[in-house]
């Protein structure tokens, strides 16, 4: 039960509540049965896998309500003119940078998924997952590690689930136009450098990180292209976190 807070989040959301559902997790004859939400029953032998199945079911249920939205694998933070997206391949440092920005006072609203429709983007409400190993780079968060809910991503890795409000930071999720898109290229162990990117190149970077709408609505690529075209676009060679943070701060201030 102590790990259920990993799944729950208490972000303030400026979004319409569309549906509530009931999902059961029962210990039944040597295994966990996860049922409800309009999906077939699932059976898992371990509690960790049952949590994962429960979380996936909640995620899928939420996404069913948003068939016209493009899903973008991105961390996100609020800027002065809208949402700033941090996009990169796995292990690019996206989540670690997002947490460093949070510690530095930026309003980080998501670390995994952004949903886009008709030029309005919104973070998917989910706690921020941090690897234990990343805490060395995030000293401001180390004090909260002991109390934070966690999940075992695999046998070697534990993820902390952080609510920014426990760090005294606001967490207000609301739709906004995309102000900035930053594509991360790892440059670990070196100084960070952020350079402007062409719009065509940025669409090329972002598209592999996108899931098309479930409805496959016509014009979704136009929606994505137009949103990127309206935004400031950069490639961030991510090395030192303070340098990256300052580069992002300067991009926000230029407006």
């Amino acid at each position: 039960m102590e790990r259920l807070p990993f799944l729950a989040q208490q972000a303030e959301q400026a979004l319409e509540l569309r549906e509530t559902c009931h999902i059961d997790v029962q210990w039944d004859d040597g295994e966990y049965r996860i049922s409800g939400g309009g999906f077939e029953d699932e059976f898992e032998a371990s509690l960790s896998l049952a949590y994962a199945a429960l979380f996936a079911r909640l995620h899928d249920k939420a996404m069913q309500q948003l068939p016209d939205h493009i899903s973008i694998h991105a961390a996100s933070l609020m800027g002065p003119r809208g949402l700033c997206l941090l996009i990169g391949e796995k292990w690019s440092g996206k989540s670690t940078l997002a947490m460093h920005l949070l510690s530095a006072g930026f309003e980080v609203v998501g670390d995994e998924l952004v949903l886009l429709k008709d030029g309005q983007a919104v973070a998917f409400p989910r706690r921020f997952y941090i690897r234990y190993q990343s805490l060395d780079l995030l000293p401001a968060l180390a004090g909260f590690a002991g109390d934070a809910p966690f999940v075992n991503a695999d046998i070697h890795q534990r993820l902390l689930a952080v609510d920014p409000q426990t760090l005294g930071r606001p967490w207000h999720i609301r739709p906004a136009p995309i102000q900035t898109v930053i594509f991360l290229e790892p440059h670990h162990g070196s100084a960070s450098a952020m350079l402007p990117s062409s719009k065509v190149d940025m669409v090329r970077h972002v598209l592999p990180q996108c899931g098309r709408p479930a409805s496959n609505r016509k014009g979704w690529l136009a929606d994505l292209s137009a949103s990127i075209n309206r935004s400031d676009t950069f490639v961030l060679h991510l090395g030192d976190l303070p340098g990256a943070t300052e580069a992002i701060r300067q991009s926000f201030n230029k407006g």
Binding site: S198, K199, V200, V203, G219, L221, A222, S225, A226, N229
Partner: protein, 89 residues
């Protein structure tokens, strides 16, 4: 040097052409493929409507970019690329 062909290229049907500041993002539904074109290639695609020869396109690009010389080689290379990607016929 005059353009070598009197053919009039035609943009393939079913293309979704999205213009951004520095180029074009083109979705080709028949192959479920996205193409990223620079400005010149994108203009060639848009102007390939079956009424213009390669020479016409050279003249058009020269006028649009206010070039001192005919961009014959660039237009030829652009059209060849568009044909190879099956964006024009």
């Amino acid at each position: 040097m005059p353009a070598s062909s009197n053919e009039k290229p035609v943009c393939q049907e079913g293309l979704e052409i999205n213009v951004v500041d520095d180029g074009f993002v083109v979705y080709q539904s028949s192959r479920d493929q996205v193409h990223y074109l620079n400005h010149v290639a994108g203009l060639l695609l848009e102007f390939s409507n079956g009424t213009r020869t390669e020479a016409d396109l050279v003249a058009l690009i020269r006028k649009l970019y206010d070039l001192p010389h005919d961009p014959t080689d660039d237009v030829a290379a652009g059209l060849e690329m568009l044909r190879a990607q099956e964006l024009i016929r």
